[in-house]
Symmetry: C3
Subunit: 140 residues, 3 copies
């Protein structure tokens, strides 16, 4: 049921690295961690994005909006579970708390979500083939 | 002082799995992760629960109340430490932030606690023999 | 790019242990985890501290102030990345959410920061040689 230590710590580090790309305003590197045919779903918040370039366009727009507003976001990952699949892909589930942290102001929770990803191996790296974000709560 | 990588990642995944059972409304599977003679203590919040069936009854009631209220809770685990004991049991300590996440609303912190568990091996799985929850803060 | 499982889980446990020292009011043990010549930077919040004894004096004062006020703080670490350097040191980066948890009251977020540490091996333990805390948000 559980991933071995090498796989589990690799995926934990994958998410620490990947979330930091978004939070540091590097949308291209963030989008490059998706497969070319990746699907990104966040029901109730946005329409389904199909393909890496659609995902890239959406994150590029989002990062630009946040930068224009001077808003820093920090995406926490927690309670990570990693389940290898028979076809070599992985299912990863984790909670994500999105902190909105305007510099010099009081920290603030923007959203709480549960993410379910399918990751696939491409050479020496993992790519996201499918992401489903279940929004538990979101600031209105 | 520290657990080896296999043990540490196994226990991290144990908690990710176990917290999700409660958060997804599966009280029976959650209760089955306690030993038959387990003790559950949460001083200042509830009386001591003795035995798996008392723990099962309490969580079943709690899950039903949350479902009736339409409330989603997400129990985060953080700063996990795992210390093997000479008798083969483990002591695990972690912080837990309890997010209350009513769908479509602003996320909210319900409680912050420090958990101290004793885990014992039974066949191929770990069971909780003792849980002590120190409540740091709780919404009034 | 990523640390191996033994190193990654060791550093995760190092931080769980070290944060608990501060949160449990043990400033001397906390300060002993810095090198004698350590540098502690938290721009915009305090002046640079140079040397273990300056760090010890600052944390001792801070812990005493919190104890006098009856305030419990809990320093969460998240999204940990660990990058070994050619000289044997490590770079560690992590998010930290500082929960202020007055007993019996509603939990509260005090600060959100991004920490960048340089750790060095001394015998069988890791010590912090440099800490840079980037304050994203802080309660006014």
């Amino acid at each position: 049921m559980f991933a071995d230590p090498a796989l589990y710590t690799e995926i934990a580090q994958f998410y620490a690295w990947h979330m930091a790309l978004m939070d540091n305003g590097e949308p291209d590197a963030w989008a490059d961690a998706y497969t070319e045919d990746a699907v990104f779903e966040e029901p109730g918040r946005s329409s389904v994005l199909r393909g890496r370039e659609a995902i890239r366009a959406a994150i590029t727009k989002r990062v630009a909006e946040l930068a224009a507003a001077g808003t820093v976001m920090r995406h926490w990952t927690g309670n990570l579970s990693v389940t290898p699949q028979p076809d070599g892909s992985l299912r990863a589930q984790y909670y994500s708390l999105v902190m909105r942290a305007p510099r010099g102001e009081r920290p603030d929770m923007f959203a709480h979500v549960v993410c379910r990803d399918v990751l696939v191996r491409r050479g020496d790296r993992w790519l996201i083939r499918h992401r489903h974000i279940g929004v538990d709560a979101l600031e209105k």
